[in-house]
């Protein structure tokens, strides 16, 4: 096996010009049969692989996309990645992973990679746009699809769920069980996702004519630890809640941990609803009642939209809203003293 056969080598070995080899290998219909298979055969024999950088330089494409998240460590993203990766592969693209850790500069850097020619487009899951002065080209000129988090005033296609509605449904479930003193542990505000889930909580509470004293609405940061802390604070109050709606599963787990530490049981003493339906949530004891989102589908759809954008310059759907489902499991029950 040669070390790195080039198109030129194949051309010589099969007695044609490089152009013909290129055409043959790229499935151009303009190559005659005997030539075609001869070329293919030599390519195979020589272990030929097109040099991606040369091709990219020439075609001004990279056949790769970037997926950008705030925190790779968040288990929530896993299946979204999976959906993206599968759709990308099917279309012949590779996937670059970017992690911003909420750092605006990093985020800008990744945006600028689109100008470098390193990626043809990006799936943005950070919920934010870098400041224009940090960017080489206007963000709006890039092929970007926003997933999971809505970015207001942007013209990018979005693939999202209706966070407000889903949150309201979760709270309505608690209300229908008879709970009246329902707390909410929100995600980091004023992030869009957290804001919408909070709004859903408020909407449902209001519709039922229930009180929402400030001490029942707490803010966490989606981490286990913050759920634990806020759960703790919630039960140090004179009049603790009988139910909690946490803005994600991890905080729900944290809150349950805090309650266990105080000798409270779920759902007997307190009901808890989460959001996300992590793969482990059903294995929790008791299994967590939570809002399930179609994560793989979100990833897949976002990637398909991005392909439209890259290949057609536009996409059919500006905003795609995927459905959620409240999964009622073991952490919710009627309140004790009803």
């Amino acid at each position: 096996m040669q070390s790195k056969a080039r198109i030129k080598d194949i051309a010589e070995h099969s007695g044609v010009s490089p152009a013909t080899v290129s055409r043959a290998l790229n499935g151009s219909s303009l190559v005659a049969e005997p030539t075609l298979s001869r070329i293919r055969e030599t390519a195979r024999r020589l272990g030929y692989r097109p040099n991606v950088n040369a091709r990219n330089l020439r075609t001004q494409r990279s056949m790769s996309v970037l997926m950008l998240v705030r925190d790779v460590g968040n288990p929530f993203y896993l299946e979204v990645f999976k959906g993206i990766e599968a759709a990308a592969r099917d279309a012949g693209y590779v996937v670059l992973m970017g992690n911003t850790e909420n750092d605006a500069e990093r985020e800008a850097e990744y945006f600028n990679m689109l100008d470098d020619g390193r990626a043809d487009g990006m799936i943005l899951m950070t919920g934010t746009l870098p400041a224009p002065e940090r960017l080489v080209s206007a963000a709006s000129e890039q092929s970007v699809v926003v997933a999971l988090e809505m970015i207001e005033n942007s013209t990018f296609p979005h693939v999202i769920i209706d966070n407000e509605r889903a949150a309201a449904e979760a709270v309505e479930h608690l209300i229908s069980l008879g709970h009246r003193r329902i707390a909410h542990i929100a995600g980091p505000l004023p992030e869009e996702m957290s804001t919408r889930r909070l709004a859903g909580y408020r909407r449902a509470m209001q519709a039922a004519g229930l009180d929402m004293p400030a001490e029942l609405v707490r803010t966490g940061d989606f981490s286990l630890k913050s759920g634990e802390l806020q759960g703790q604070l919630l039960f140090e109050q004179s009049e603790p809640p009988t139910a909690i709606f946490a803005a994600n599963d991890e905080m729900a787990f944290g809150a349950i941990q805090a309650m266990a530490a105080r000798g409270l049981t779920v759902p007997e003493d307190v009901s808890v609803v989460g959001f996300d339906d992590l793969s482990l949530s059903k294995a929790f004891q008791p299994p967590l009642t939570t809002v399930s989102q179609p994560r793989i589908e979100i990833g897949r759809t976002a990637m398909l939209r991005l392909l439209d954008l890259i290949e057609q310059g536009e996409t059919s759907q500006a905003v795609t809203v995927l459905g959620t489902e409240l999964i009622i499991r073991g952490t919710t029950a009627p309140p004790r003293h009803n």
Copy 2:
């Protein structure tokens, strides 16, 4: 702002040759001061970004690495990714994500990407090597670091933990609590990782002179579901175990789920130990006793080794064994009837 300033544009704007611009921007010491800052200034003003594909073609490097796993959906990888991403970024590399789903063809394809010039090296976490006949160049000629799973008879640097020893320690813990009928739910055999953990179980049992009847050693596939199934089977026996060592946390959760379904409590009726220490494991009720591995560190170290390989052609350490720790939490206790 121009659309896509090239090095030539900067050269014209600052009255020098492209060569000088290239030198200036790449920090070559051969550029005189006045020229240097003039060039830098115009580059900034024009929003210049070097075209990555052109540079890659010229330098025959891609400044990107590939990380390959069996299943992106596995929460175990998250922090390993994080460690890899951070170390890669620091060194100016970007990270491509590859998912094989145990498909040998896909795995070979990713290997071949190293020949394409798409990535300069790879962190292999699948525990397997593609068949040589599928590969364009011999695998051994590539810059590859194996992480998490040992590949026997390969010359690649490895970054691993001592699975056998860690498993033995977990089982010793159960033995020291007084358990004698200890079951093991293994991962998929004959994968290296599963095999080593099983060996650790056997070693500890043997050392304590305990029986290992075949019905106490079951094989799962690391999934929640398989843990549930095997846990179920374990308790349908006439003489069920008093303790279970599961080869990963997910299967431990599954087993606990199965026991809960039969009205058994952990750790009162049965003790359970897992392996991995997923971020959610401490929030489980009761919190899971498990073996913790330094996942971020594994990722980071693997990336550093890979950089050695790419940049120096060799690395100091052939095999790096990172330490594990048995975290004793709430799922283990002395057996009921001792």
